[in-house]
C-alpha cells in the first residue's frame, strides 16, 4: 500500500458520486491508500480566477498548505478531477516561478495561520498515478473480467494534458495514457480524434448554444466511431456529456444515446467489483445496454436519461445559425 494525499473536490460529493465510489473501490486492488486532506475547500474551478486572482489563488493555496502540514510518508497530492488538478498544480507552479506572487499568497494564507512552500508537494492526477506508479502490468494482473468486446472512446478533455506544467503527459493534443489503460483492461479502444477537444466547460451555464455544439461534436463523433461508451476522467466533462446530452439532443432535434462513464468505473468492472459498488446506474444516459453487450448487468438509472425526445428524427444535425454565424467555409 503506497500512501497519497487525496483531494477529492466538490463534484465527488454530489454529481460525480459514481466517480468517488469507483475510485474508492479500485484503490484497494491498485494498492494505493488515499488520505483525504482534512477540511479541504473548493478549488474555485475556473470561476474564482475569473473574478479576482488573489483570493482565487489563496483559496487554492489553502488546500496545498493543509496538505503540506498533513504530508508525512508522501509528498504527492492526488486529484481525480482535471480542473482541481490543474488549479492545484497551477498555483504551486506560479508560486514557485513568480516569487513575489508566491509571497503575496503566503501573506494571505498567514491571515488564516497557514503557509505553503512552493515545490514542497507534487500535484498529480489519478490517471498519472495509476499509469506511472501502479503501472500497466500491475493493472493487467488485477484484471479478472476483461472488457473484451467493449468499444471504448477514451475522452481526456483539456485540463489534464494542457498546459501540463509538470510535462507528465505524452502529448498536449493526443495523449495516449487513457488509451493504454483501457487497452490494459481488455477494451477495444477507438483512436478518438477529439480526445482532447473541449466539453463546453461552464458554457452549459452561460452560453448553452456554444456548449451544445461542443457537446454535439464529441458525442456525434463518438457515435460515428461506433463506440459503446465514452470514458471520462473529469467530473465536469462527464456531466456535460452525460447530463446535458438530452438537452443537446433537444437543441439539435437529434437522438444520440452515448453513455459516458468514469475510467475508474470500467477499471472496477474489470477488477471484478460489483457494478452497484461502482456507481453504475447514476448516469443519465443508461450504460445498461452497452454493458450487457459484454455480459455485465448494470442497474437501470432511476430516471431514464435522454428524456427529451426529438421532435422529429434528424440526419446529421445542422449546427444552429448563431454558432456558424461567424464561421464561413471559405467557399464564400
Amino acid at each position: 500500500m503506497s500512501d497519497y494525499i487525496f483531494y477529492p473536490g466538490c463534484s465527488m460529493e454530489s454529481s460525480a458520486k459514481a466517480y468517488y465510489d469507483s475510485v474508492m473501490a479500485v484503490s484497494k486492488p491498485l494498492g494505493i491508500s488515499l488520505k483525504e486532506i482534512d477540511d479541504w475547500n473548493c478549488c474555485g474551478a475556473t470561476e474564482y480566477l475569473s473574478l479576482d486572482r488573489m483570493p482565487a489563488y489563496s483559496l487554492i493555496a489553502r488546500n496545498l498548505a493543509l496538505a503540506e502540514r498533513q504530508a508525512a510518508d508522501t509528498r504527492t497530492v492526488v486529484a481525480p478531477c482535471s480542473a482541481c488538478y490543474l488549479n492545484l498544480s497551477k498555483t504551486d507552479h506560479y508560486m514557485g516561478e513568480d516569487k513575489a506572487f508566491g509571497e503575496k499568497i503566503n501573506e494571505a494564507l498567514a491571515a488564516g495561520g497557514l503557509h505553503y512552500s512552493p515545490g514542497e508537494l507534487v500535484v498529480r492526477h489519478l490517471l498519472d498515478v495509476v499509469l506511472n506508479d501502479v503501472g500497466l502490468d500491475a493493472v493487467k494482473a488485477k484484471v479478472v473480467r476483461p472488457l473484451t468486446g467493449l468499444r471504448v472512446v477514451p475522452y481526456v478533455g483539456c485540463m489534464l494534458p494542457r498546459p501540463d506544467y509538470g510535462k507528465r503527459y505524452s502529448d498536449t493534443e493526443r495523449p495516449t495514457e487513457l488509451d493504454d489503460l483501457m487497452r490494459a483492461l481488455g477494451a477495444e479502444v477507438v483512436d478518438f480524434p477529439l480526445k482532447t477537444a473541449c466539453c463546453g466547460g461552464h458554457m452549459t451555464q452561460i452560453g448553452p448554444d456554444t456548449a451544445f455544439e461542443l457537446i454535439r461534436r464529441l458525442v456525434s463523433s463518438a457515435v460515428g466511431c461506433k463506440a459503446d461508451v465514452m470514458v471520462a476522467l473529469c467530473p465536469m466533462c462527464q456531466m456535460n456529456l452525460d447530463a446535458f446530452q438530452s438537452q443537446m439532443n433537444g437543441h439539435f432535434h437529434a437522438d444520440y444515446r452515448m453513455p459516458v462513464l468514469f475510467f475508474t468505473q470500467l477499471m472496477g468492472l474489470a477488477f471484478g467489483e460489483k457494478p452497484e459498488k461502482l456507481g453504475f446506474g447514476s448516469e443519465f444516459v443508461s450504460a445498461r445496454e452497452a454493458m450487457s453487450r459484454i455480459g455485465v448487468a448494470t442497474p437501470q438509472p432511476v430516471v431514464e436519461g435522454a428524456a427529451a425526445r426529438p421532435r422529429k428524427a434528424a440526419g446529421l444535425p445542422m449546427p444552429p445559425p448563431r454558432v456558424t454565424a461567424r464561421q464561413s467555409t471559405g467557399k464564400d
Partner: protein, 674 residues
C-alpha cells in the same frame, strides 16, 4: 611571480572614441588624461584619445609615437580584440615593434555597449586599461611560426554548395577531395522539380554541374563516404575518410542498370524519394546520379540477410558485383576544409494537430517536391495518397516548425517562396483551388516579390493566419471526407474552417541531426539551433573561429539556392587566397617546459588535447612539441610544479592584469568612501 616590479618599459596608451560608440558613454578625454597621470608609475609615457584608432590616421599616430617617443609597449583601448587586434598588431610591427608587445583593452563590447551609467562605464574603462598596462609590460616579443600550406582541399558535402566550391577550386588547378555521405552527389536540389522564382527545371541546371564535378581531373569524388577523423591544423590537416563498401567494383561497373532491374527486393526510399517512392536493394538514388555506380543496401539485400538470391551478380554483364567488398579507410592530406553539409527537413510529425503521418493526405513539402517532379514516383502528377485521385482543393501551410518557440524559433527563409512555387505548380497541374496560409509573406530578394504578385494573379487564395489544426472530423455539411483546415483569418478577424482534399506542409529547415558531432570533429562550434557558427556574421560569413575550416550553404543557417551557391564560391575564394600565400602564420603562443624545475610527474602529458607533450624518459622530464601545440594552456593549469608556461599567457602576465584591475577598482572605493 613579480608583477609589481617597477617597469623600465615605455608604454603608450590610446583611447578610441569609436565615434560615439565609446565616447557617447565613456568620458574618453578623462580616461586618456587619467592614464597619462595615474599610470605613469606603471610605465605609461604617452596617453592619447582619438576618434577612430583603427583609421589609418589612428594607426599612424601609434607608429609616430613608437618612433619618436621610443615606445616599447602599446595599449589600445577600443573594441574587441576579435575585431581589431590583427589591425593594431600589424601597425606595431610596421613601426618596428614586435606585435606581441601590443595589448588591447575592450572598452566597447565589454564596457560602453553594456553599461548604462556613464560614470561606472568610465571607471570600468580605467580598470580595464590599467589591467592591460599591467599586463603589457610583462609581455615578451614572440616570433610567429610559418608553415607551408598544403594546396589540396577537402570539401564535405556534395550538394549544390559543395559542388560549386569544389568546381571553383578544381578549375583553379588545385586538387579537391569531395566527400558525400549518400550514393550520389546532388543533395536536396536534385530532389526538386522547379526552382523559384524563375521556375526553371532544377535537374536541368544542376546535372551539368554534377557531371563536371564527377569528371573533373582535379576532383577526387568520394561518395557513400564520411569523414571520420580530422587531425592537424590550417596548412596541413590529415583527414581519415571511411569509404563504405558499395559491393560494386567501380572499375568494372558500366552503370547499365541491369542489376537494379533484376533485383527482386523493393524498398521504400526514405531519403531521395522522401518516403513517397520505392527503390531496389541495389540502386542509384536517381537516373542522373553521379557517380553512375549503384550501391547495395546491406540491410535490405536478400543475399546479405538470407544468404541467397545474388540476382544482381547473376545478371551483371560486367561481373562488377563484389559481395565481399569491405569498407576502406583513406587518409588525405589537405591544407583547408570547406563544410557544406546542408540541412535536414523539420519532421512535421512533431506537430500533432497538423496530423502529418496520421492523416493520409497531409504531405510534407519534400514529399510534394518529389510528387511534382516529372522523374518522381507519380511522374509529376499531383494526386492523393491513393495515387490516382486528383485533388480539387489544396492547402499550402507556411511556417511549419518555424517561427514557433515550441519547435524552431527562427524563420526558415525559403518556405514562403517554396510555398508560392508549390501553389503555382498545383494550379498548373490540377487547376484546383489553392489556399496559402501564412503569417507574414517574406519575399526579400531580387524578383521574389514579383513572383508573389504573379501567384496572386493566378488566383491563389491567400489567408493570413497560422493554421490551428487540420482535422478529418466533419462538423459541418461539406466537410465529410475532407481535410478541414481550421484557422483564424486574421485579416477579417474570424474563425474559418476550410475543407480541402490535400494539405502540403512547408516544413522548416533544421540543422543536420548530427551537426554537433560534425562540428566537434572539425573543431568548430554550433549555435543554440545547432547551425555552424561563422567567424563574423557580416564581415566573415564563411570562415570559422578555427583557421582553415570554412562553412558554406545551409549548414550555417537556412538559405535558398542562390545564396548557397554564392557561399560555396565565396568559401572557395577564401581557401584559394590562403593557398596563394603559400605559407601561413600559426599560433606563436605555445607552451614551453622549464627543463630545470620539471620533475617529470607526467601529469601534463594526458592533459594535452593534441598529444603535443612527450615524456623524455632519459632526461626524466616533459617536452612540448611546438608544431603540435595549439596554445590552450591546459597543461599549464595542470602542472603542479609550475614548470610549464604558455607564451603570451604566462602567470605573471595574467596576474599583472588582475593586479592592475584590482588596484584601480580599490582606489575608486577609497575615493568613494572619502
Amino acid at each position: 611571480m613579480s608583477p609589481d616590479r617597477k617597469p623600465q618599459e615605455r608604454v603608450g596608451v590610446y583611447v578610441c572614441h569609436c565615434g560615439s560608440n565609446i565616447a557617447g558613454v565613456v568620458d574618453v578625454a578623462d580616461v586618456g588624461e587619467w592614464a597619462g597621470k595615474e599610470l605613469e608609475p606603471h610605465g605609461v609615457v604617452v596617453a592619447r584619445d582619438y576618434k577612430f584608432m583603427c583609421s589609418s590616421l589612428g594607426q599612424e599616430l601609434i607608429a609616430k609615437d613608437i618612433k619618436e617617443q621610443g615606445l616599447t609597449r602599446v595599449v589600445v583601448a577600443a573594441c574587441s580584440p576579435h575585431l581589431h587586434e590583427p589591425t593594431f598588431r600589424t601597425a606595431c610591427s610596421r613601426a618596428g615593434l614586435n606585435p606581441y608587445l601590443f595589448e588591447m583593452a575592450n572598452i566597447r563590447e565589454q564596457d560602453s555597449w553594456v553599461t548604462t551609467d556613464k560614470l561606472e562605464a568610465t571607471k570600468k574603462a580605467k580598470a580595464l586599461i590599467a589591467a592591460a598596462v599591467g599586463r603589457v609590460v610583462h609581455q615578451q616579443p614572440l616570433e610567429s611560426l610559418f608553415v607551408p600550406v598544403d594546396p589540396n582541399v577537402l570539401v564535405v558535402g556534395g550538394g549544390v554548395t559543395g559542388i560549386q566550391a569544389a568546381l571553383e577550386i578544381a578549375n583553379s588547378g588545385r586538387h579537391v577531395y569531395l566527400v558525400e555521405r549518400e550514393p550520389s552527389i546532388g543533395g536536396h536540389m536534385a530532389q526538386f522539380d522547379k526552382t523559384f522564382p524563375t521556375l526553371d527545371c532544377s535537374a536541368c541546371i544542376l546535372t551539368p554541374k554534377m557531371f563536371d564535378a564527377g569528371n573533373h581531373k582535379n576532383i577526387t569524388m568520394l561518395t557513400w563516404s564520411e569523414v571520420e577523423k580530422v587531425e592537424g591544423h590550417i596548412g596541413n590537416f590529415t583527414v581519415t575518410i571511411r569509404k563504405r563498401a558499395r559491393y560494386i567494383d567501380e572499375s568494372l561497373c558500366t552503370g547499365c542498370g541491369v542489376c537494379w532491374e533484376k533485383c527482386p527486393k523493393k524498398v521504400v526510399d526514405q531519403v531521395f524519394e522522401a518516403g513517397l517512392g520505392f527503390r531496389k536493394a541495389v540502386y542509384t538514388p536517381f537516373p542522373q546520379a553521379v557517380p553512375k555506380y549503384p550501391v547495395i543496401d546491406r540491410e535490405n539485400c536478400t543475399y546479405f540477410q538470407k544468404g541467397t538470391c545474388k540476382a544482381c551478380e547473376t545478371y551483371c554483364p560486367a561481373g562488377a558485383i563484389k559481395f565481399d567488398q569491405q569498407d576502406e579507410h583513406l587518409t588525405a592530406k589537405v591544407g583547408n576544409i570547406i563544410l557544406a553539409t546542408g540541412y535536414d527537413l523539420f519532421d512535421s510529425r512533431k506537430i500533432t494537430n497538423y496530423g502529418y503521418g496520421r492523416l493520409a493526405n497531409v504531405f510534407s513539402s519534400l514529399e510534394f517536391e518529389r510528387m511534382t517532379n516529372a522523374a518522381g514516383p507519380t511522374m509529376g502528377r499531383v494526386v492523393l495518397r491513393d495515387g490516382v485521385t486528383q485533388p480539387k482543393s489544396v492547402a499550402v501551410i507556411h511556417c511549419v516548425g518555424s517561427r514557433d518557440k515550441n519547435y524552431h524559433n527562427y524563420c526558415s527563409a525559403v518556405c514562403c517562396m517554396q510555398s508560392l512555387k508549390s501553389a503555382h505548380l498545383i494550379k498548373e497541374k490540377t487547376g484546383g483551388d489553392v489556399y496559402q496560409f501564412y503569417i507574414d509573406m517574406r519575399t526579400p530578394a531580387k524578383t521574389y516579390d514579383e513572383f508573389y504578385q504573379r501567384i496572386i494573379r493566378e488566383g491563389v487564395n491567400m489567408v493570413r493566419g497560422k493554421v490551428a489544426e487540420i482535422t478529418d472530423t466533419a462538423l459541418e455539411p461539406g466537410e465529410e471526407g475532407k481535410l478541414v483546415v481550421q484557422v483564424e483569418d486574421t485579416l477579417i478577424g474570424r474563425q474559418r474552417r476550410i475543407p480541402v482534399d490535400m494539405v502540403v506542409l512547408s516544413a522548416g529547415l533544421e540543422a543536420r541531426h548530427d551537426a554537433k558531432e560534425v562540428a566537434q570533429r572539425f573543431g568548430i562550434s554550433c549555435s543554440a539551433d545547432e547551425w555552424f557558427i561563422e567567424r563574423h556574421p557580416k564581415l566573415d560569413p564563411v570562415a570559422t573561429m578555427t583557421d582553415g575550416v570554412f562553412v558554406a550553404g545551409a549548414c550555417q543557417g537556412p538559405k535558398d539556392i542562390p545564396s548557397s551557391v554564392a557561399q560555396g564560391a565565396a568559401a572557395a575564394a577564401r581557401v584559394l587566397s590562403i593557398i596563394g600565400q603559400g605559407q601561413i602564420e600559426i599560433e606563436a603562443a605555445t607552451a614551453i617546459v622549464d627543463e630545470v624545475s620539471c620533475v617529470g610527474c607526467k601529469q601534463c602529458v594526458p592533459s594535452c588535447p593534441y598529444r603535443a607533450i612527450e615524456y623524455l624518459a632519459v632526461e626524466g622530464r616533459a617536452h612540448v612539441v611546438e608544431a603540435l601545440c595549439k596554445g590552450c594552456g591546459t597543461c599549464v593549469g595542470t602542472c603542479l610544479s609550475k614548470s610549464i608556461s604558455l607564451k603570451h599567457f604566462t602567470d605573471d602576465q595574467i596576474v599583472a592584469e588582475v593586479v592592475g584591475a584590482m588596484r584601480v577598482m580599490k582606489s575608486f572605493e577609497t575615493t568613494a568612501v572619502a
